[in-house]
């Protein structure tokens, strides 16, 4: 059926475990986003969430054998990178574009 099941063996199990781990991690980091005493804490936490979502998209693409989710992961990664850079600049400078 799907590529993952065609690979057989232990891989589907590992992929699904990784998916669960990423999801749990995302939720855990959500705690840091809400409480995080300083703004940089929250920024880093949001970046972790972004990375996790990228990982989830990529893992899902592998599990279901859907290449199009890799596009989603790529675009998410790019947007996550830019948002982190921009917010970091805002935190350090108080201004985004000079």
């Amino acid at each position: 059926m799907t590529e993952a099941s065609a690979l057989g063996g232990v891989l589907p199990l590992v992929l699904q475990g990784a998916l669960v781990l990423s999801a749990v991690l995302t939720l855990a980091v959500g705690y840091r986003v809400i409480t995080g005493p300083t703004t940089p804490d929250r920024v880093v936490a949001l970046d972790v969430i972004g990375t996790n979502v990228v990982a989830i998209a990529a893992l899902y693409a592998m599990i279901r054998g859907l290449g199009l989710f890799l596009d989603v992961a790529l675009v998410l990664a790019i947007i996550g990178f830019i948002s982190t850079v921009t917010v970091a600049r805002y935190v350090t400078e108080g201004d985004i574009i000079e």
Partner: protein
């Protein structure tokens, strides 16, 4: 006055010159680190390639003019954020703000916006000449192309390109106007 003093004056003048030069350079890229600048230099081409890839596959796979344009705009955002407003238009595009205040490149972005709209609408109206309804699309498969094999030539791509130009122009206009505020 001794020779030493004259030499000291000269070196002081050279120091001042170097300082102003440094200040000028710093006004371009104030406080952005070498890491950030290097990373952006590497990443921006990758983003642009991804954007063009999404644009090209848009008519029959996920992607399309809009998301390609958004990614292109994010590449510009990165350049703006890390290198500053002036870098792009002064050093890269070779433009000069005519009236000083406004961002000169914005005028070009506006043209991009209008041209994109015209292209999208024009590609929609082209079928009218053939007596077909508005926005009717056609596709042509080219076979036996060297290196590439089969190539799909879709008229929907013209519409997608129009959307791409419109969104890039619109987003960059907003960015330029808001950034120069």
């Amino acid at each position: 006055m001794s020779d030493d003093a004259v030499a000291g004056d000269r070196s002081a003048a050279a120091d001042r010159e170097a300082a102003t030069e440094r200040a000028v350079r710093e006004s371009y890229d104030r406080h952005t680190t070498v890491i950030a600048r290097t990373v952006v230099r590497v990443v921006v081409p990758i983003i642009l390639v991804t954007a063009v890839g999404l644009l090209l596959q848009g008519h029959n796979r996920p992607g399309g003019g809009f998301i390609g344009a958004v990614l292109t705009a994010t590449a510009f955002v990165l350049v703006y954020v890390i290198f500053g407003m002036e870098y792009l238009q002064d050093d890269f595009l070779g433009l000069r703000a005519a009236d000083g205040g406004s961002h000169a490149a914005v005028e070009y972005y506006r043209w991009l916006f209008a041209a994109g709209l015209a292209l999208a609408a024009g590609s929609g109206m082209a079928p009218l000449i053939a007596g077909l309804p508005f926005l009717t699309q056609a596709v042509l498969f080219l076979h036996h192309i060297p290196l590439y094999g089969e190539f799909e030539l879709a008229s929907a791509f013209a519409f997608d390109l129009g959307v791409y130009l419109t969104v890039v122009g619109g987003l960059l206009t907003v960015l330029g106007e808001v950034g120069s505020e």
